[in-house]
């Protein structure tokens, strides 16, 4: 199977409510191909809900979503599965399968079109990318939280879908692996993939992402480059903390300060 064509995602006036409470309110956003985007915001801002909507897990109550030029509604579930990979915030596997078997599940949308040898190769490659090759055959129930997370990430990457959506992928990881993770996503974006992450870690977001979306109470406060979005005024308003955005050695750097 050849590498898929780059795919941009666009949504217009996306809204969603749960239990009669609005969770997303008329969100319009744009994710070009080849860019690493981060969705940030306080707890309960609607980050996970937005990602779920984009991935097609939750149907939006209103608004429209476009995968490339086609409305998402016209794309079949099977096709969508090949176009988008999704990693939820927290998931535990039901059975004590080997790590590489779990990763192989990421290839299900392609079914028989991938031969066994190629399948094995891609699984090994994905495991290597997340630094998990050492425990490829170990049952997932015997892995630590961080190790399991990396294996799940490998499952996300193995499909090589043009769009990658991950909800707080680095939550359980130590600092080294968090950095590795962001570098992996950066590489994916650079190779033409559309990558959308929900993150809590603002410095990491600032350093690696091309685009940041700031959500608050289900509404999109700001959308743009890290410099545009992570202004001390906006950060202070949304998070209630002092912050500073500066450039060091040509790289963006975000530093958080005290409570306001």
């Amino acid at each position: 199977m050849n590498r898929a064509q780059p795919l941009a995602i666009r949504c217009e006036n996306l809204s969603l409510s749960r239990n009669q409470r609005p969770v997303l309110d008329a969100i319009s956003c744009h994710f070009p191909a080849g860019e690493l985007a981060a969705v940030i915001g306080p707890n309960g801002a609607g980050k996970s809900s937005l990602l779920s909507c984009l991935a097609g897990i939750l149907p939006p109550a209103g608004g429209s979503l476009y995968l490339g030029d086609s409305p998402a509604a016209t794309v079949s579930a099977a096709k969508r599965a090949r176009l988008m990979g999704y990693l939820p915030q927290q998931e535990s596997p039901a059975w004590a399968m080997a790590a590489e078997d779990l990763v192989a599940l990421g290839l299900l949308p392609w079914g028989r079109s991938i031969e066994r040898a190629q399948r094995r190769q891609r699984v090994a490659h994905a495991l290597a990318e997340v630094d998990a090759a050492a425990f490829a055959r170990r049952p997932v129930t015997q892995l630590s939280g961080g190790e399991l997370r990396r294996v799940q990430l490998a499952r996300l990457l193995v499909g090589q879908a043009p769009v990658l959506i991950a909800d707080e992928p680095g939550a359980a990881l130590d600092i080294r692996h968090q950095l590795q993770l962001m570098q992996t996503f950066r590489r994916q974006a650079d190779s033409g993939k559309t990558v959308i992450l929900a993150v809590h870690d603002l410095p990491l977001a600032a350093r690696y992402c091309d685009r940041i979306l700031l959500l608050q109470d289900g509404r999109l406060r700001a959308q743009g480059t890290p410099e545009q979005v992570l202004t001390p005024a906006q950060v202070g308003d949304v998070y209630g903390i002092r912050s500073e955005f500066r450039w060091r050695d040509g790289r963006p750097e975000f530093v958080s300060g005290d409570l306001l």
């Binding site: 779920s52 991935a55 097609g56 897990i57 579930a77 099977a78 969508r80 599965a81 090949r82 988008m84 990979g85 999704y86 990693l87 939820p88 998931e91 535990s92 596997p93 039901a94 059975w95 004590a96 399968m97 080997a98 078997d101 779990l102 599940l105 990421g106 299900l108 949308p109 079914g111 049952p139 129930t141 799940q152 499952r155």
Partner: protein, 313 residues
């Protein structure tokens, strides 16, 4: 090999090779015993055992819980209640209506469990709802038998609760087989869904298995296979629970491959249980459900004890 044991077991000693040589249409009493009494019984054991193993594997896969089994969630009781109503109250019942209505009963039971547990309920809540519905349905079964016109109805609750393969012929096999086959096909079609579910519901959804289609496919598959089996053989428990457990380590924890192996192992287990039943002499028929419970209950204990260390229940 188990087949040979099954075919050689029975109250009357027959000359097996002569009977086989005699062929299907032979009139000798040995041949009739073999072809019309023992063989259909053995075949039925295989079909029912496979259906139960398959149903158990599918249910455990879908609920992501190794403690699930069709009997637990009311599938068997729903089918049994429907069968009881049809057989004891329905005046003229034409062949296929029985398994069809049993399947409907099974689906209704599962539907009630779903409703009771609520949308998006955790596996443990589903099991709880299943236990409640099961208790309710068993009470209804007893009530229905109590007021049935037939003399023997009330005593026959034992059959409906513990199952039996006695006195069954090709007509019963042919009654259940088409539906078990349909159920098997449904479940076969859903094997990738069950695999994807190993990751979690959200991930499975993102892998292309979203919407109602797949869960319904699995449910209908289980209802067809198990419902038809219950209609002809009564409720036989523990096969659906024990067999997938035993097979899971052998298939690398793959829910897809588990379907096949559970079907085969279930067939074997029930056949062996029936051989035991056939070879046990006593004033009363040894109920096959009692045999499977005898195997299953200790297994269940062992499971819970060892599971305390590993899995989350």
């Amino acid at each position: 090999m188990a087949m040979l044991a099954a075919l050689s077991s029975g109250p009357v000693s027959i000359d097996l090779s002569a009977a086989i040589a005699g062929g299907w249409h032979s009139d000798s009493s040995d041949a009739v015993i073999l072809w019309q009494l023992r063989l259909p019984r053995a075949v039925l054991a295989i079909v029912v055992g496979a259906a139960l193993g398959l149903g158990g594997a599918a249910m455990q896969g879908m609920l992501r819980n190794p403690l699930a089994e069709p009997a637990l969630l009311g599938v068997s009781s729903g089918a049994a209640l429907a069968a009881i109503l049809v057989l004891y109250y329905g005046a003229a019942v034409s062949g296929y209506l029985l398994p069809l209505l049993a399947i409907a009963g099974a689906l209704l039971a599962v539907g009630s469990v779903w409703l009771l547990a609520g949308h998006g309920a955790s596996a443990s809540r589903l099991v709880l709802a299943g236990v409640a519905i099961n208790a309710f349905l068993s009470a209804l079964m007893a009530l229905a038998l109590n007021y049935a016109p037939s003399m023997f109805a009330m005593q026959e609750i034992v059959f409906w609760l513990l199952g039996s393969l006695a006195n069954r012929g090709w007509d019963q096999v042919l009654l259940a087989l088409p539906f078990v086959v349909i159920g098997t096909v449904f479940l076969f079609l859903s094997r990738n869904y069950l695999r994807a579910l190993s990751l979690g519901e959200a991930s499975a959804s993102s892998l292309g298995f979203s919407g109602r289609r797949y869960p319904l496919l699995v449910l209908f598959g289980i209802a067809f296979a198990v419902g038809a089996s219950v209609a002809v053989a009564g409720t036989i428990g523990f096969i659906g629970l024990v067999v997938p457990h035993l097979m899971r380590p052998l298939v690398g924890q793959d829910p897809g491959r588990l379907l096949w192996s559970s079907a085969l192992a279930g067939a074997l287990l029930l056949l062996l249980a029936d051989v035991l039943v056939l070879n046990t002499v006593g004033t009363q028929e040894l109920r096959i459900g009692a045999v499977t419970a005898f195997i299953g209950a200790p297994f269940f204990f062992w499971l819970i004890v060892s599971g305390r260390r590993e899995l989350n229940l």
